[in-house]
Symmetry: C2
Subunit: 227 residues, 2 copies
């Protein structure tokens, strides 16, 4: 849960958001997107902030405010047009283009992630995977070629990989991260249970299973009225 990103000065051309966006908004945007796609598939042409909010457990005001950070997408009295809002959110999130991705670590978790359909579905193209186990090198996993980790730099550069996913043991994660950064990736999604240190021109998001489980324990253990 480690993100990055200020919003100080845009120097170029067009407009930049006046106010900086609260962190949390971006995650909610992803959820709005997902829910909008479901609603659209249900045949609805438009959706109100209150319906969308109800389905996700947010207030209508929050939905409107969140969207308001990025523009005006709705029509008073009517709601938001699903199709257009979906398109707009994809642009905001930056997933209107294709992202070139590499997976580092093809153990249990790496394999599972490579098999996750959501990646390709949303425009992420996994072009390479890396491992240090000789037996795996040269084979394919879910259609993705597995290379020797020693070739990481070369291949990341050749293939213009923009995002790196780290699914190696904690002890190797920082080294891998450094190599990815040196090879020019712009962002890293880290599944290893360590806090990575990166230069701040590289974005970092971490997914930490232990942390999530522990926070679940906490809320169970400290529940207001245990049954």
């Amino acid at each position: 849960m480690n993100t990055e990103h200020p919003k100080p000065t845009a120097d170029t051309s067009t407009e930049m958001s006046k106010t900086s966006v609260p962190k949390g908004v971006v995650n909610r945007l992803s959820l709005y997107l997902r829910e909008l796609q479901i609603i659209e598939r249900l045949g609805e042409k438009t959706v109100s902030s209150s319906l969308l909010g109800d389905r996700l457990g947010f207030t209508d005001a929050q939905v409107r405010k969140d969207l308001g950070y990025f523009g005006q997408f709705g029509q008073p009295g009517v709601g938001y047009p699903c199709a257009e809002l979906i398109k707009a959110i994809r642009v905001i999130l930056g997933i209107d283009r294709e992202w070139t991705v590499a997976m580092v670590g093809v153990g249990n978790l790496g394999r599972a992630l490579l098999g996750y359909k959501g990646f390709s579905a949303q425009g992420f193209r996994v072009v390479a995977a890396f491992d240090n186990m000789a037996a795996k090198i040269g084979t394919y996993c879910e259609g993705v070629p597995i290379y020797d980790i020693a070739e990481l730099g070369k291949i990341v550069q050749e293939q213009q990989v923009v995002l790196g996913l780290i699914a190696v043991p904690a002890s190797d994660a920082q080294t891998i991260a450094d190599e990815l950064v040196a090879s020019g990736v712009a962002g890293i999604l880290n599944f290893a249970p360590v806090t990575l240190k990166l230069p701040d021109n590289v974005s970092l998001v971490g997914v930490d299973l232990a942390t999530e489980l522990e926070s679940l324990c906490f809320s169970v253990a400290n529940r207001p009225n245990p049954r």
Copy 2:
């Protein structure tokens, strides 16, 4: 990042403490714990809030405030004793006891999660896994027996499962969640990309890969100074 729950905090018995803990504190506590274990293994007997904070990217004040919600653990002029603070955080998080866990869905992701060492390492005992694929039923994965999903209710009750992990396709997740709740679990960790609706005496934490990746995209796409 979907969490649940407002009113925690207390240490013993019948107290309904008024001070609510900011959400976010619990996740940081997990990180403190992890880092403390590393620091302790390095041979340090104590650690200051500023050192701990620096290693994780938080301010010293934040570290002290977070810990302050739960008691006084440090010595002025000295810092926090690693061993004791570790023990204290484990108690706060509720991971000083053993939690009985069941995994639902033994596809790629479920298998990967079952293989994740962090679970057993921190006192989580996975006693059962469920799947609807006939070929898997009756076999073991990472030492965990796989049962027919039709037996979920019976086995969860028999084994007194407290936490359920959902790693099934999105379309099945709500049904499974309902069954888990009906069988008496106290918390659910959901990996399926849907927003679950649960009664509020059951805690919910969601881990959503698509959302995390999208938020990474956003911060790369909107970086202050793209290189």
